[in-house]
Symmetry: C2
Subunit: 513 residues, 2 copies
C-alpha cells in the first residue's frame, strides 16, 4: 500500500490505476483585456486568441490578436517566417515579451518568440469573411456571427445588464424565481401559442401524416403550450414572498416579420404585493433602468459600445443607421437621470389630436381614443413628450384595449365602472424607435370582479381556476410589469433589429442551428 499519486485524492489504501497526467508547469495565460491594460513591460507572456488581421512586411509581420474579452486586439510582432502559416481567423497561442511600442496606435506590443497554431482557418470556405457582410446574411450563420468583435461586445453587454439587474433586484428585496416554460394556459388569450408534444415524428424532413395519431401522444395528458408570459405564475409566487422577478424565455407563434418581434424572446417580469398605487410599479421600472444605465455609463463595456459606434459610423458600415455615439450616450443619460414623464392615455390622445389640428405632425392613422395608439403615435410621443431621450409612461388605457387581469383605474372604478370609457390602472413605457419597451398594471385582486372581466374577455375556463384561487384565500392588492429584455438590449446598444442582439434568433420560418 502506498499513497495515491493523484494530487488531492484523500484516499490512501490503494494504487491509482490510471492517474491523471499532470501537465508540466504551463505559462500563465493572460487575456487580451487584461494585457492591454498593463502599462509595464513583462516577459513570458502567453496570449491565446484569434488572428483579427495580418500585415506581412519583408523583415517583420504584424498580427492583431483578439480573444473576445475586449473589442481591441493586441499587436503582435513576429518574424515573417513565423507568420507564414497564419491567416485571419486562425486560433493561435503566442508567447513573448510585452514591450513598449514604437507605433502610434498602441502603447505596447507583444514581441513574439514562439507561435503555435491551435486551429487553422479554412479561409476559402469560411462563411464569415473579413469584409462587410450584411446583417441579413450574418443571420444565416448565427454560430459564427458572434466571432465578429462588435457582436461579441453585444454578448458582453447582455451579460453586464443581467448582472446589473440581478444586483438591483437583490438589493431591493425581490426574489428571483424560475417560472414554468411549459404551461396549461395562454395568459392573454392571444391564441398564438406553440404547442408541446412528445414522440412526434422526429425526422426533420417528415411531416405528420393522416393516421399518425399514435405519434401525437399526450405526455402531459392534455395539450400544453410554451409560455407567453410568466405573469400569472409570478402572481402566485409573489403571494408567498412579497416581491418577485424573473428573466425567462417567452414564446409567441406570431407570423409577424418585423425588426421588433421574435418567436422566442426573454422577458423580464416582476410582481409586488401590498400596493394599490400604480406609481409604485412605475417607480420600480424607472429605478431599475436608472441602475442599468448608470452601470453602463461607468463601465468598460459602455465605453466600448460608444467606440464601436464611432468606428462603424466612420467606416459607413451601417449607412442607414443614423444613431451616433453621442446620440447613444444621450439615450443612456436620459435613462440614468430618471424623472421620466408620466401621462395618461387620454392626455396622450389629446396631445396627438392637437398636433394634427395645429399641423405640427401628420400621421397615416388619425389619433383616436377608441382605436388606440399606433406605432407612429407611440414614436411621436417618445420623441415629443420624452424629447427623444427619456422614456414616457402612458397610463390608464381604456379597459377595452387591455387584458382581463388589469385592475380599474382609481378614478375610473369610482365614477364610471364598466362603461366604454372605463380605464385600467396600467402603463406602457414608450421609447424612441422601439415604441413599447415595457408594460405593467395593478392586477384585479378581487375574485368576483376578476370573473366578470374574464367573462367579458372570453377567457373563462381555459385552465385558469387556479389563478382565481389566488383571490380566494388571502388575496392582496398587487401589481407588476413585463419588459422585453431583447428590446432593452437593442435600445441600449442602438442596434436596430432585435434579430441582431439575440445569439440564435427564432422567427417565422427561421430557426438556424
Amino acid at each position: 500500500m502506498r499513497a495515491c499519486l493523484w494530487r488531492r485524492c484523500n484516499f490512501r489504501s490503494h494504487e491509482c490505476l490510471r492517474p491523471f497526467s499532470v501537465s508540466p508547469v504551463k505559462h500563465e495565460r493572460v487575456d487580451v483585456a487584461r494585457l492591454l491594460s498593463q502599462q509595464t513591460e513583462a516577459n513570458g507572456v502567453d496570449v491565446h486568441g484569434w488572428v483579427r488581421s495580418l500585415r506581412r512586411q519583408k523583415k517583420v509581420a504584424f498580427v492583431a490578436v483578439g480573444d473576445g474579452t475586449t473589442l481591441e486586439s493586441v499587436q503582435a510582432v513576429l518574424k515573417p517566417e513565423d507568420a507564414a502559416q497564419l491567416s485571419t481567423g486562425a486560433a493561435v497561442r503566442l508567447t513573448g515579451s510585452w514591450k513598449a511600442s514604437k507605433g502610434s496606435k498602441q502603447s505596447h506590443e507583444l514581441q513574439v518568440t514562439q507561435v503555435a497554431i491551435l486551429g487553422a482557418n479554412d479561409a476559402e470556405h469560411n462563411p464569415l469573411q473579413p469584409k462587410y457582410q450584411t446583417p441579413e446574411y450574418l443571420r444565416t450563420i448565427p454560430h459564427l456571427r458572434p466571432r465578429i468583435p462588435a457582436n461579441a461586445l453585444l454578448l458582453r453587454l447582455r451579460s453586464q445588464v443581467i448582472a446589473s439587474l440581478t444586483h438591483f433586484f437583490n438589493q431591493q428585496g425581490f426574489v428571483q424565481t424560475h417560472t414554468p416554460i411549459i404551461t396549461s394556459s395562454d395568459c392573454e388569450g392571444a391564441g398564438e401559442v406553440f404547442t408541446v408534444s412528445s414522440n412526434a415524428a422526429k425526422d426533420s424532413e417528415q411531416r405528420l401524416k393522416p393516421g399518425d395519431q399514435a405519434q401525437v401522444e399526450h405526455f402531459f395528458r392534455t395539450n400544453k403550450y410554451l409560455t407567453v408570459s410568466a405573469q400569472l405564475h409570478l402572481e402566485a409566487l409573489a403571494q408567498a414572498v412579497d416581491k418577485v422577478w424573473t428573466l425567462s424565455p417567452t414564446f409567441r407563434a406570431e407570423r409577424s416579420d418585423t425588426p421588433r418581434h421574435l418567436s422566442e424572446f426573454y422577458m423580464l417580469e416582476a410582481e409586488l404585493c401590498f400596493t394599490n398605487d400604480l406609481s409604485d410599479v412605475m417607480t420600480v421600472v424607472e429605478n431599475m433602468l436608472v441602475a442599468v444605465a448608470s452601470d453602463l455609463l461607468s463601465s468598460h463595456t459602455g465605453a466600448e459600445l460608444l467606440k464601436a459606434r464611432e468606428s462603424s459610423q466612420a467606416e459607413h458600415e451601417s449607412p442607414t443607421d443614423s444613431l451616433t455615439a453621442a446620440d447613444l450616450k444621450a439615450r443612456w443619460t436620459g435613462l440614468a437621470s430618471g424623472a421620466w414623464p408620466r401621462i395618461t392615455y387620454a392626455h396622450a390622445i389629446h396631445l396627438l389630436q392637437t398636433a394634427v389640428t395645429t399641423s405640427s405632425a401628420t400621421f397615416a392613422f388619425e389619433p383616436s381614443y377608441e382605436v388606440g395608439l399606433q406605432a407612429e403615435h407611440e414614436r411621436w410621443l417618445a420623441a415629443t413628450v420624452g424629447e427623444g431621450q427619456r422614456p414616457v409612461f402612458v397610463t390608464d388605457y381604456p379597459a377595452a384595449q387591455k387584458p382581463f387581469y388589469m385592475a380599474p383605474s382609481p378614478t375610473s372604478s369610482e365614477s364610471s365602472g364598466g362603461d366604454e370609457h372605463s380605464t385600467v390602472a396600467c402603463f406602457d413605457l414608450l421609447v424612441s424607435e422601439l415604441c413599447e419597451l415595457a408594460g405593467g398594471s395593478l392586477r384585479e385582486h378581487r375574485v368576483q370582479e376578476l370573473q366578470v372581466a374574464m367573462q367579458g374577455k372570453g377567457v373563462e375556463g381555459g385552465g385558469l381556476e387556479w389563478y382565481q384561487d389566488l383571490r380566494r384565500y388571502g388575496s392582496v392588492p398587487h401589481g407588476g410589469f413585463g419588459l422585453g429584455f431583447d428590446r432593452l438590449i437593442c435600445y441600449l446598444s442602438g442596434v436596430g433589429n432585435v434579430r441582431d442582439v439575440v445569439a440564435f434568433p427564432r422567427w417565422v420560418g427561421r430557426c438556424e442551428c
Copy 2:
C-alpha cells in the same frame, strides 16, 4: 395654458385631461424581516402580511403575521373584537406600535391600533390547511404551496444561489448568455425530446384526429424541439468571448418517475476556451460551489434553513427524512472547504470491486468496468471517498459510455486510441443521495476526430453541420460542464425530492397550472 398638474410631467402646454389621483400620504410599510431585526420601540408601524396563526383570549388576541420575507412572524397584539373577523390565511394590514414584549418567545411585539382585512380567507374551501399535508398532496396545488413558510424559504434560497452564481461568474470573467430553447437538434442523441408546433388543436380536451394534417403546420418549416442542453450552442458562443455560462431551462420527455428527474428543469452550463486540461474545468465547478456554499453559510437564508430543519425534526413532520440540521451544515461545510477528491473511473471500479471482495459493501449490481456505475455505486463512492460530505469527481469514463463530443483522455489517446478501453477526458461529480450533480468534459475540437466519433455514435446528419463548422475556422481546445440546478437546490436544502424545490414542477402526466 397652465402647467400640468401631474407631478414630474415635463409638458407644459396643455391641460391634463385625466390626472392621476395622488394618494394621500401613506404610512411607510415595513417588511417583517426588517421589523424583527429592529430592537428599538417605534410608533406608526405598518405591517402587511398573512395571518399565520391566531390565539383569542378574553381580553386580548395574539396574531402571528408573516409576509414571506422571513420564516418568522411578527407577534401582533389586538383587542379581541378587532380580531373577530380574522382567520388563518387572511391578508391584513396592521398599524400600531412596536413595543418590548413581556412574552418569552419574542423581544418585541406589535401593539395594534388599526386592523384592515386586505383579503379574507375562505378557510373552509382552502386546499391549503393549517396542518400537516403530505408533499404528494401539496404538489397538486403548486399555486398555493409556496405560501407555507418553509416553501417560501426555498424560493429565497434559489434566488440567493442565483445571485451568488451571477456574482461568481462575473468576477471570473465568464459572460452570461441566453442560449436558445427551441432548437433543431438533439444534443446527446437521446431521442426523448419534446416537439414544438404551432396551430395544433387548442382545446385542451381535444386530441389530434386522423385527417387533421393542417393543424400540424410547420412554423419553422421543419420539426423543432425543446433543447436538451445548451452545450452545443454555448460552445459556439465561447469561441466569441472565451468563457461563457448560462442558467437555462432544459427539457426531457422521459417517462421516468423518480425524485431526481423532471421533464423541465434548469441547467447551469459553462464552457471555457484555451484549455486542454480537464482539471481546469473541474476547478471552475469546485470554486463555483465553494462560493455558493460560503455565501450560504454566512447568510440569513442559511440560518433559516437550519432552523427550519430543526423544527421540522422536532415536530416529526418528515419522519422518513433523517437529515438533521447538523448534517446539513456539515454538507455545506464540506462544499465550502473545497479540495474534493478526484479519482478515475477505473479506480472507482477498482474500489467498488475491492469493497465487494472484502465484504465491506454489498450491491444489487456487481461493479463492472464495462457495464458502468449504477446509482448504488455512485452513492457508495460519495459516502466512502467523499466521506458523505465532500463531492467526488470521477474522471475518464470509457468512451463507449459517453456522448460523441468528448475529447479522449490524454493517456488514452496516446496509448490506446479507439480500443474498447479508450477513455474520454470527462468527469461526473457525485454527491450523497442525489448521485450525479454535474458532469463535464474536454470537447473534441478536431473536426475529423469529431466526425469519426459522430459516425461511431450514429449522430451524423441531424442538423449538426454547424457544430462541425466550429472546428473548421479557428478551432480551439476547450471544455465545459453542466450542473443540474434544481438538484443543487435539493442538495443545499436537504429536500429529498426535486419536485418540492421547483415552483411548478412538470413530469410525465403532471403539469399543474
